[in-house]
């Protein structure tokens, strides 16, 4: 017994629930701009309703977008994601709940619940796009000239629901305008919109699987038109809850508050890191090198840029050119600048590559020639756009996709040979086989050291964070091996000397598309704010490329061709099942608790094949969280909720 408050600070409305022994009090208000003020106001209203003083409250749990950084003096407080809270609340109201649809102002969720405990088993959120959310309905209501509160009832009066093709708010709005112009009724259009949202939400539901009892929570659950459209589209009936389902999240938070109060042993773990100073030393060395290239202090050395990992960098090393991988990203302003030539439907990494040249990035401007082995469509078109619009000489080489086919090796070898001639023309130097062989040995040493450093992450308490490991990998793409090796060796020694204190953290693998130099938003959120640890990266700027070494014997061109073609593959390469098997092996080797499958929007290679990857991970019994993202900062709240809820699921395993 006791008194516990749950606060659900949503994007549009804030809800509060007070569990006062057997009595439930509720309060609701607009979220407003200042979250703390909103939360304090809700607490005050609840106290007034229950005729209580604040000192009588035992515990507060906050949830929703505004849950972060709330402070309640002298009252124990924690935050829990709204996904867990909606599950807990729905379970409290209806213990048979197995599936929840939650549609709020800013996002929609499908949640699978364990009816024996009310814990989340699986969940899916919409991506950052507003389609399928309360915001979407609100925007359309505005176009139709009706109030959002009336829209559901208006939709129920439809005779023939209009067909709405688009799910994008912007496109749907113009479609609505077209339908209005064609004389379709307000009722039919409103109904059509509800069915469009129902299809979108149905997509989420299908991904977790629908099992009765199904309950509908969130602000949009008050919309009768939406309830009807969902039931008609998905062919099931919702179970009614004992109270307004809009309060399910707040109620769940209050139930969590009660549980936390009863189990004071649950405390958040302090996040500690063991960053050896030498990592910053290496970062400084990379910067020093880049500055030298920018200031032309490299005494006429040619700067050769390349995009993807199928470019045999040993040839560039042997030529005396300075190779740099062009993989900066993470800044949405630079990406937006590149959109001028690539359109909106290139991934933001490719847009950033173009944007870097358009924005006169000094390092990019130092590049004398770009070489790119044909990986994805977008990358090759990016290279063409850079040459066309920024006059940087660019040469594309062919890369077979069917890497196991007998004829692919000889064809790729002929392209590597042409690449070598091209580099000789750039530098004016003949590249001998011996010099390539020397570079192969040096690059192999660097690869092996990175792998060895990564192996330390197999420990219970890894001595290096994922974000730090990415910095080591980044250095590989800017510095040449003779510079790199002493750093790597010293770093390994220092890390190996850090004792394993045995503390178990949640171990995650990051899988999917490229994580650009500068794109650290997500990994910092995971490691620095939430406290999990990325222990292995199954992507091309993490550990994955360092699994295979180049053959050191025989003809070096042949060795490079064989080894590069057969390196741990990008999802662009065929057959896909081998690529997936590689991911599987990495996850097993590093004994991960969960996998974050990250795709950049508009990346076909990893986007279209994501289900194949995820199905395989799930078959292995490893939970997966899929995150479709880009470089904008606007979805950080949603990312926190997604990742936080995922870790709650993993923690509860």
């Amino acid at each position: 017994m006791g008194r516990f408050i749950g606060l659900d600070i949503g994007s549009r409305t804030a809800k509060g629930v007070l569990l006062d022994n057997d009595t439930i009090h509720t309060a609701i208000t607009d979220t407003g701009f200042f979250m703390q003020k909103t939360a304090d106001g809700l607490v005050q209203t609840l106290l007034e309703k229950a005729h209580l003083d604040i000192s009588r409250i035992d515990y507060i749990v906050s949830t929703g977008y505004g849950r972060i950084s709330l402070v309640f003096k002298d009252i124990p407080h924690k935050e829990v994601t709204e996904i867990s809270c909606h599950a807990k609340g729905a379970h409290h109201l209806n213990p048979g709940t197995k599936t929840i649809i939650d549609i709020g102002g800013q996002d929609s969720k499908a949640i699978k619940v364990d009816p024996s405990s009310g814990k989340v088993i699986d969940f899916v959120l919409n991506d950052k796009c507003a389609a399928g959310t309360g915001k979407f309905l609100e925007m359309i209501a505005l176009s139709l000239g009706i109030k959002i509160e009336e829209m559901g009832n208006i939709a129920l009066q439809a005779t023939t629901p209009s067909h709405i093709t688009s799910q994008c708010v912007v496109f749907a709005e113009s479609e609505v305008i077209s339908l209005k112009a064609m004389g379709e009724t307000q009722n039919d259009i409103a109904s059509g919109i509800h069915f469009a949202v129902a299809r979108r939400v149905g997509n989420l539901l299908n991904r977790v699987g629908i099992e009765s009892d199904v309950v509908f929570t969130g602000g949009v659950s008050k919309n009768k038109g939406m309830k009807y459209a969902l039931e008609e589209t998905l062919k099931f009936r919702f179970t009614d809850l004992k109270m307004d389902a809009q309060f399910a999240g707040g109620l769940g938070a209050a139930v969590f508050a009660q549980e936390f109060a009863n189990d004071q042993s649950i405390e958040a773990k302090e996040v500690t890191t063991a960053t050896p100073s030498i990592i910053s030393g290496l970062e400084g060395r990379v910067k020093q090198h880049q500055d030298a290239l920018i200031s032309s202090a490299h005494n006429g050395t040619k700067v050769a840029g390349y995009f993807c990992l199928y470019t045999p960098v040993e040839i560039l090393d042997a030529s005396g050119a300075a190779p740099i991988r062009l993989f900066k990203g993470g800044d949405d302003a630079v990406a937006a600048s590149g959109e001028i030539h690539t359109r909106s439907y290139f991934c933001q990494f490719c847009q950033s590559c173009v944007g870097g040249f358009r924005e006169n990035d000094p390092l990019y401007k130092s590049v004398d020639k770009i070489y790119t082995f044909n990986t994805c469509d977008q990358m090759k078109k990016t290279a063409e756009a850079i040459e066309e619009f920024y006059n940087v000489p660019t040469q594309l080489y062919c890369l077979p996709r069917e890497r196991t086919r007998e004829t692919s090796g000889s064809f790729y070898q002929s392209e590597v040979l042409s690449f070598k001639k091209d580099v000789e023309n750039l530098t004016g130097k003949t590249i001998s086989d011996e010099s390539i062989s020397r570079q192969i040995i040096l690059r192999n040493k660097a690869r092996a050291l990175l792998k060895k450093i990564s192996d330390l992450r197999k420990r219970q308490d890894p001595p290096i964070k994922g974000s730090e490991f990415l910095e080591l990998v980044k250095a590989y793409y800017y510095l040449q091996p003779e510079v790199l090796l002493p750093y790597y060796e010293k770093i390994y020694e220092q890390l190996a000397a850090i004792p394993d204190n045995g503390e178990k953290r949640i171990r995650l693998m990051m899988s999917g598309g490229i994580v650009a130099d500068g794109d650290r938003r997500l990994i910092k959120l995971i490691e620095d704010e939430i406290g999990a640890r990325i222990v292995v990266e199954d992507h091309c700027t993490g550990l994955r490329p360092f699994y295979n070494l180049v053959e050191e014997n025989g003809n070096p061109i042949k060795s490079l061709s064989n080894s590069y073609l057969n390196q741990s593959p990008c999802a662009r390469m065929k057959p896909l099942k081998e690529r997936i098997r590689f991911s599987e092996d990495m996850a097993k080797e590093y004994n991960v608790d969960g996998i974050l499958y990250i795709t950049l929007k508009f990346c076909s290679c990893y986007g279209i094949s994501k289900k194949s990857f995820q199905d395989n991970f799930l078959k292995m019994g490893i939970p997966v969280l899929e995150i479709g993202t880009d470089y904008s900062q606007s979805d950080i709240g949603q990312l926190k909720t997604k990742v936080g809820a995922f870790l709650e699921v993993l923690g509860g395993k």
């Binding site: 149905g202 290139f346 977008q378 040459e387 080489y397 064809f411 508009f602 076909s604 279209i608 995820q614």
Partner: protein
């Protein structure tokens, strides 16, 4: 729910065009019938591989043609079942959904490695649905190719077609393939003749009719005899019409880029007094094979050379220039699906080039819009045509 077929039902006075529409619209049904009759049918044959397929007595069922059958249900399958990201090109999603719906029919298909990234990824996914997919690993033709590299690319393409032959049934019968190449060239010649005659009587055929004709130039919609007969009939009709042409003025424009399934856009151009006088599609699908070369080499050559294969915008521009000069076109419509990265940069580069020559261009980004074109498309096309007139 409307599909593109519902939208196609337009009365035509021309017997040849009516027959062409019947031929096109019965295509997939005939593919199914052929499969049910025990004949070999594969998804593929839309490009340089069609003569090879015919030489193996294989019915080519071009998967892009499935788009015409597709409804929003197909898109939903792609998004719900395969969880393909929403932003993916709708044509690929529609194809994926249709293939899944037709899973119980034939399931062998040919993919092309250098083409469209989403198709490549989607077909890999279809392998998981028990589709037998053979990829032809055609090299992409980059800019600045020297003769030696071009030859390497061509040789590799030739090996890939040989490998396709093995997948189709074994060793390639060169005599048979030569005959198919000859037939292909003869039919292409007829289509080029039709396109030339059309310039004299541009009101006679609709834009969609021309697109169907050009598209069939590589695979004949599975029936070369009927397609050939349709071409002959159309030539007769056009020659007759050209002997006493009506004084109807049409505004010639070039259609650059994908063929699109947004058929309402074609109708819109026709209704606005436009006439598509040149198609970049024709550069790829109606390129003659060099009959002096060994047949497989001729196919490989076409798959790499210029508009015969995938390549950068620099190869594209001279061909558009030529089309424009030959038909006195007033502007260029660059058409691609929203989400098609393959075309987008080409469009930007080409549009930029033609702008410097004072040739107006418009980039249309289609979606899988069934029925009438959206208000936005109507406005854009209308404004463009007004600007040109």
């Amino acid at each position: 729910m409307k599909s593109q077929i519902d939208f196609l039902k337009v009365n035509k006075d021309s017997k040849a065009i009516e027959r062409l529409f019947d031929h096109v619209l019965s295509y997939i049904e005939r593919a199914d019938a052929a499969h049910n009759d025990g004949k070999k049918v594969v998804y593929g044959g839309g490009l340089f591989d069609a003569p090879l397929l015919y030489s193996f007595d294989t019915f080519p069922c071009v998967y892009t043609e499935l788009g015409r059958l597709a409804s929003n249900e197909s898109l939903s399958i792609a998004e719900d079942y395969f969880q393909v990201p929403r932003e993916t090109c709708s044509m690929v999603k529609a194809t994926l959904g249709e293939l899944f719906r037709r899973k119980k029919s034939f399931n062998r298909m040919i993919g092309y490695c250098s083409f469209c990234e989403p198709y490549n990824a989607a077909f890999e996914v279809m392998k998981g649905e028990d589709f037998d997919v053979h990829f032809v690993d055609l090299p992409y033709r980059p800019d600045h190719l020297d003769e030696e590299r071009f030859k390497n690319l061509q040789n590799h393409a030739q090996k890939e077609f040989k490998s396709l032959g093995k997948w189709l049934g074994g060793e390639i019968d060169e005599d048979r393939l030569s005959k198919e190449i000859k037939r292909s060239n003869e039919i292409k010649k007829k289509i080029w003749k039709i396109l030339e005659l059309q310039k004299k009587v541009p009101y006679y055929m609709g834009s969609l009719d021309s697109m169907f004709l050009i598209t069939g130039g590589s695979h004949y919609y599975g029936d070369p005899v009927e397609f050939n007969a349709i071409c002959d009939l159309l030539i007769d009709e056009l020659e007759l019409e050209a002997s006493h042409p009506k004084q109807i003025k049409k505004l010639p424009v070039i259609w650059a880029g994908g063929r699109g399934q947004e058929f309402g856009t074609y109708k819109l151009i026709d209704d606005l007094g436009g006439f598509i006088s040149g198609w970049t599609l024709a550069g790829m699908l109606l390129r003659y094979y060099d009959e002096t070369l060994p047949p497989l080499e001729a196919i490989a050559y076409n798959s790499i050379i210029g508009m015969g294969g995938p390549g950068g915008a620099r190869d594209w521009i001279p061909f558009i220039d030529q089309l424009k000069e030959n038909s006195n076109a007033k502007g260029i419509i660059f058409y691609g699906y929203f989400g098609c990265s393959f075309a987008s940069v080409n469009f930007e580069i080409a549009k930029n080039y033609f702008a410097t020559k004072n040739v107006p261009g418009i980039i249309l980004e289609g979606s899988f819009q069934t029925g009438e074109p959206s208000g936005q498309t109507v406005t854009r096309v209308k404004a463009f045509m007004e600007m040109l007139s």
